[in-house]
């Protein structure tokens, strides 16, 4: 009897969330589905960021560098070669390009640390943003790039694709973080010298983390382009988008992967709930986020764990 009660609530909760998630389109309006579709892609952005920061300990201010590379590669390919190339080829190309970007970003990460690396990632975003604006004939510049193909015009289908993608990415990233590789990453994030002294190849593991994070960020970015039908700097590259991803991950709880997804859905949902307040919305969301970070540094998941441990 007691052993039944002791079963961790996690698998059950996961099952309930999965069932609720899958069946939502049958009861919910297109408006809510559209909102959640965006939230799910943002969740993948935040989870990929958490793998790099929470585990590998890399202060990455530029998640949108990887996302933007994926989104724009996919978008430009489709816009140029529309009927001849299938959507999935474009999406894959976007993911590959993001991985290339991830490797480029990993090179300085192996040399410089902390704030220095943070600045490199910030600069990478600014350069990408400038490139998009300068090569406007190819990228659509500041107006944005419109893509001839979309994945689906049905809100439910788009929702299911995004939900499935988030669940699969979440499972892979979560599994990875709980695997020996995740442990080595966490160790090298906390003390690279000691991890190296224990015989682990820190550089190889970090490079791997960058590649995985870039792959999922790029894939999510590319998929989101084909959901929205457009790619623009303000939705995929701008620093404020990256800031939102970072806040989502920290808010949900670092080093949890799943927390990042919860944080992302919360942020997007909250932003929408408060939309009637106009410009006050961002202000209130930021105040809430600051409050959580100051008083519950382990985020939402940390709050839950703290409560269950205390009770």
């Amino acid at each position: 009897m007691r052993s039944v009660l002791r079963v961790s609530p996690l698998p059950l909760a996961t099952l309930v969330v999965l069932l609720l998630g899958v069946s939502l389109p049958f009861v919910s309006s297109g408006y809510v589905l559209g909102l959640l579709t965006v939230a799910f892609y943002t969740a993948v952005f935040a989870m990929s960021w958490d793998l790099l920061f929470g585990f590998a300990g890399e202060v990455n201010f530029g998640p949108t560098f990887l996302i933007g590379l994926g989104a724009y590669t996919a978008g430009i390919l489709d816009a140029r070669l529309a009927p001849h190339v299938a959507i999935w080829v474009c999406v894959l190309a976007g993911a590959v390009m993001a991985v290339v970007g991830g490797v480029l970003l990993a090179l300085p990460a192996l040399r410089v640390r902390g704030p220095y690396f943070g600045l490199v990632t910030l600069v990478a975003v600014l350069i990408l943003q400038n490139v998009v604006v300068v090569f406007a004939s190819l990228t659509g510049g500041e107006i944005g790039l419109s893509v001839p193909d979309v994945m689906s015009i049905s809100a439910s289908t788009n929702y299911w694709i995004a939900f499935g993608f988030m669940v699969v990415s979440g499972a892979v990233l979560f599994g990875l973080s709980r695997s020996p590789i995740g442990l080595v990453l966490e160790a090298s994030g906390q003390d690279a010298v000691q991890a190296g002294a224990l015989g682990f190849n820190v550089a190889k593991h970090k490079l791997f983390a960058f590649i995985v994070s870039a792959f999922f960020s790029g894939l999510a970015g590319a998929l989101m382009v084909f959901y929205m039908g457009t790619a623009s700097v303000s939705t995929f590259i701008d620093i404020s988008v990256g800031v939102q991803i970072i806040i989502a991950a920290v808010l949900g709880g670092r080093r949890t992967v799943i927390g990042a997804a919860i944080g992302a859905v919360f942020l997007i949902g909250m932003g929408e709930l408060l939309r009637p307040l106009g410009e006050l919305a961002t202000l209130l969301v930021s105040v809430m986020a600051l409050f959580v970070v100051l008083f519950f540094p382990d985020g939402f998941l940390g709050m839950l764990q703290g409560r269950s441990r205390g009770g």
């Binding site: 704030p115 943070g118 600069v123 400038n130 300068v134 970070v293």
Partner: protein, 291 residues
């Protein structure tokens, strides 16, 4: 003609960059804090000066001073709301405090930025200039305000140098940046030094903000670029090295002005960004940084 124009414009812009970056690097040198709400404090001070001039019909000097007072208050608020609670927290691991302070100051900056946008709209605002009119120097028509800006920036930087190197309190600050533990052993309270440094920072950042507001104008959209430019100048010069920041400010300022005049204003920031990437690859500690 063009050469002189580039030299004069570049000098004024760079002086402003230098002043903004000095405060940023001072805080980092003494307490290891990278204050990502830097741009927001600059913009808020400028907007406060603008609002005081507009609603109270105050003169140029009074509104500039009022704006600076608001900036100093905001700098203290940053310290007490976003920095100190994290530094003192026992629940956050020592190794993670850096990223936590980056996150909280970033959030605090967004809060300030959105508050400015909400109460004063996000339109560009120009602060009432203290010096008006245009002068011809070396065949270039230049607003007198541009010279005034450069002059004030250099006076402020000079005063800071005197304060740090020639006064007792300044030497305490300098010592704290070299070895905080040693300073505590000498019986000097570290928290008092931190408060003094944030006060100096508030004065420098708000002065830079108000001058920027007179020179080019500010809006809530300038918050991000201002923080990014201060951050990159400071890293380019070497974190914690004030003289390095001054040199880097001039390198970046002239590079931007040259690009704007000779190539196109649209490409203004690109060469400086590329330079930064190159320096990060070849000399990660910055031009004058020591590891």
């Amino acid at each position: 003609m063009l050469v002189w124009q580039i030299l004069i414009d570049g000098f004024a812009i760079s002086a402003l960059y230098a002043l903004g970056a000095t405060g940023f690097t001072l805080i980092f040198g003494v307490s290891g804090v990278l204050n990502l709400s830097h741009g927001a404090i600059m913009v808020a001070s400028a907007v406060a000066a603008w609002a005081i001039a507009g609603s109270l019909h105050a003169g140029a000097y009074a509104s500039a001073l009022g704006g600076m007072a608001v900036g100093v208050v905001l700098a203290f608020a940053t310290y007490f709301i976003a920095v100190r609670p994290i530094q003192r927290s026992r629940r956050i691991a020592e190794a993670e405090k850096e990223i936590f302070i980056l996150t909280t100051t970033l959030l605090w900056g967004i809060i300030l930025q959105e508050a400015v946008a909400y109460f004063f709209t996000s339109n560009a605002k120009t602060v009432l200039p203290i010096v008006e009119g245009v002068v011809r120097v070396l065949g270039v028509r230049t607003p007198s305000n541009e010279f005034f800006t450069a002059l004030i920036c250099w006076v402020a930087i000079g005063l800071l140098w005197l304060l740090v190197n020639k006064t007792r309190h300044g030497k305490e600050v300098l010592a704290a940046s070299m070895n905080p533990r040693g300073v505590t052993l000498l019986g000097i309270e570290l928290s008092r030094i931190h408060i003094a440094v944030w006060l100096v920072y508030g004065v420098l950042a708000s002065l830079a903000g108000v001058l920027l507001g007179m020179f080019l104008g500010v809006s809530s959209y300038s918050v991000g670029p201002l923080t990014a430019s201060a951050f990159s100048i400071v890293v380019l010069g070497g974190l914690g090295s004030v003289s390095g920041s001054l040199v880097a400010a001039y390198v970046v300022g002239y590079l931007e002005t040259l690009t704007a005049y000779l190539i196109s204003p649209a490409y203004r920031t690109i060469p400086a960004l590329l330079l930064l990437v190159v320096v990060m690859y070849l000399r990660p500690q910055g031009l004058f940084g020591r590891r």
